[in-house]
Amino acid sequence: MATTSPTYIAETLRRRTSRGFLSRLAGGDEISYLITLICAVSILLIVGLIVFELWLNSRLTFATFGFGFLKTSAWDPNANKFGALPFIFGTCVTSFLGMLIAVPLGVASAIFLAEMAPPKLSNILTFLIELLAAIPSVIYGLIGIFILVPILKDYVVPPIQHTLGFLPIFAGNFYGLSFFSAGIVLSVMVVPFIISVSREVLMAVPVEQREAALALGATKWETTWDIVLPNASTGIFGSVFLALARALGETMAVTMVVGNAPKISASLFSPGYSIAAVIANEFAEANGQLYISSLIFMALVLFGLTIIINAVARIFIMTTQGKGA
């Protein structure tokens, strides 16, 4: 039976009783507090730095054009004429189209996953849908250029133009790269966010609410539409804003299918541009201070927009969590 002299351990430990400064330091409390604090504060500094750099580099454009920059549509780098309107327009149109498709699709799927599907199936399908969110933007772009655009050109747009071609939004020649294509790609990219958040919000609606409606003789759909959805509406709005913020900032997939033409057009089928796309395309080759500054000014606008929309989303989602608690 192995024993250790009991006093050895007690004595060794007791000898450490006198805690000098170095010994306390070795305990690590002060150091680890300091280091983790520094890391946390450095994040604040990084974000501050981001805002500062964007603002600093936008000043030239702002000084030259003022707020008119955002309302002008001329974009001629060679003549040093810059206006952000075509890009703001394109960002808005493509995002709006994307949301138009993604929201009904996403909410409907969330309803199915939250209300209809048995839990195991729901979890598996949600897992797969969340994988969609993990696919890199450039892969969506690849599929967009080589698969989606030809399909649209051959099978989708002709029937639309045949029947509704008189409408301004469907007018003009469709060469493939367009607002329309970008909108569709965006819708696929943001729908997983809507589904993921909406599903959770729907599942959080207390089961008593559903039971009350069903006990009165409502059908499952009526219960969902009249009772569950309104209960979850704040959270669903939150998910929509989250998705919108993503759509606004989406770069690669959009620039690969939108056509990269700084035009404003009433037709969805015409080529266009977006803020993120023009930066991606032209920044590396931009020469001249004003050129670069204009691109960065638009980046600042994009930055501000996404922050505001994300904040709104968060308010919506936090309100839902408060209600459910």
Binding site: V47, N57, M116, P136, W221, T251, A299
Partner: protein, 283 residues
Amino acid sequence: MMEISATRRFVNTFMLSLSGVCTVAVVSVLFFILGYLLFHGAASLNWDFFTKLPKPSGETGGGMANAIVGSGKVLLLATLIGVPIGFLAGVFLAEYSGKTFAFLIRYVVDLLNGVPSIVIGIVAYALVVRPMKHYSTLAGGVALGIMMIPIAVRTTEEFLRAVPNSIREGAMALGATKAKTVFTVVIPAAISGLVSGMMLNLARVAGETAPLLFTALGNQFWSAGWLAPIATLPVMIYNYAISPEEDLHQQAWAAGFVLLALVLIINVTARLIIARGASAQRR
């Protein structure tokens, strides 16, 4: 006794089926994408792809060896820059911070998470490329590193908080300082979640293209050291896809397949580890 009207019954069945159709449509997109990439990409995959450098414009053949290594280098740098800061900040939030300060940090971290990646690229350009007067691996690493911070913070805080307080008390009752408790007991207890979170973080950033377009830029050849422009997989895919040459399109598919396979494998593995950890805790 009122019987439920046929219209109501019809609407019920129709709308619920419609919702199912929508779900199937969304899920099938995933399989379409996987399918197309498998079909177009795997076919173009050959040994050259992994070992050869790109050929000059006009010539066919060549590969993306430099882009594969390049992505590895940039991601390594990004991890070294972003993960320690994010991890330690997460430790601060979970173990040391007071309530108001924690709220502020979390808000700012979420804000950073929502910044479009191209904007981060611009900032990295302003901070690294402009002073150095050339593009570099370093700039790309900085851009992606900044992007890794928010998820590192959130994951760390979440998994550390999930460790029960009784474990912390047990360690402190033995005479461990708070720091020793955190680093020798709490963090090891949360390790599987922390690692999987890091894997998800890496997978997300591995596919990013936009911030690299004007930081790491690109390179037809090998890039030595950390201060030269460097080729990366996503940027190569983009450049080849928009080029007019059919041969390059094929290579873009192949590269896309490799990138997607990598990203999805890391993702699925990490999520399974987390799911297994969660169900083990519930036992």
